[in-house]
């Protein structure tokens, strides 16, 4: 549960595009969060819990570090 401007970057927009342009709502339904939360994560306004981060990676069928990167 981080803050905006955190050091965690993500590739969710690109991964959605690569997965037949999956919508935020479709991803939200797969992960079990609201579309607004997916939007906030994608825009780096909200850092999700570890569990949600893993669920996002599972939704794209990729390892966690392909979705999120820590940039110290």
């Amino acid at each position: 549960m981080g803050k905006s401007g955190s050091h965690i970057a993500n590739n969710i927009r690109k991964l959605r595009f690569d997965h037949e342009e999956m919508t935020q709502l479709e991803l939200a339904e797969k992960v079990g969060v609201t579309r607004q939360t997916v939007y906030a994560i994608e825009k780096n306004k909200y850092s999700p819990s570890l569990e949600v981060a893993f669920r996002i990676a599972m939704a794209f069928d990729v390892p966690l570090d392909e979705v999120f990167k820590y940039k110290p």
Binding site: V33, T34, Q36, T37, Y39, V52
Partner: protein, 139 residues
């Protein structure tokens, strides 16, 4: 990004509280005596009913107009709620202490009751405003 149902509902809460309680305090201040009057109680009860009706109508309109696609709060909603409640609790605590001071310092029950009511109203405003802030700006 479209606002979520919850964010819009907090706007309804914020605006209705400002209108209803703002009207109430404008009508009862300054007090006519040290104690609350029957008119104060009647006005308060009527406005309380109106506030409930406004909330119900607001929720119905939001459901009808906006897409109600996020009925279940997720982890971000819960965090936003917690931050709102935490800020509101500070206001409420301060108001309780101010009310206790009024018991000792002010004659009658008018100021005690209205300081407590005002702290409740402001705490609700702060709770909604905090939640709107975090929904819009992230945290």
């Amino acid at each position: 990004m479209n606002n979520s149902f919850k964010e819009n509902y907090h706007w309804v809460t914020l605006i209705s509280i400002v209108l209803i309680y703002g009207y109430y305090f404008v009508k009862v201040l300054p007090p006519s005596g040290p104690d609350i009057t029957a008119e104060n109680v009647t006005l308060f009860a009527g406005l309380l009913v109106l506030l409930v009706v406004l909330h119900i109508v607001g929720a119905i309109v939001l459901i009808a107009v906006a897409k109600f696609n996020d009925p279940h709060p997720d982890e971000r909603d819960q965090l936003v709620n917690l931050k709102g409640s935490r800020n509101a609790s500070w206001i409420l605590t301060t108001g309780v202490f101010a009310g206790m001071a009024a018991v000792l310092l002010a004659p009658g029950n008018f100021w005690v009751l209205h300081i407590l009511l005002a702290s409740l109203v402001v705490s609700q405003l702060v709770e909604s405003a905090t939640q709107i802030f975090h929904y819009r700006r992230g945290f």
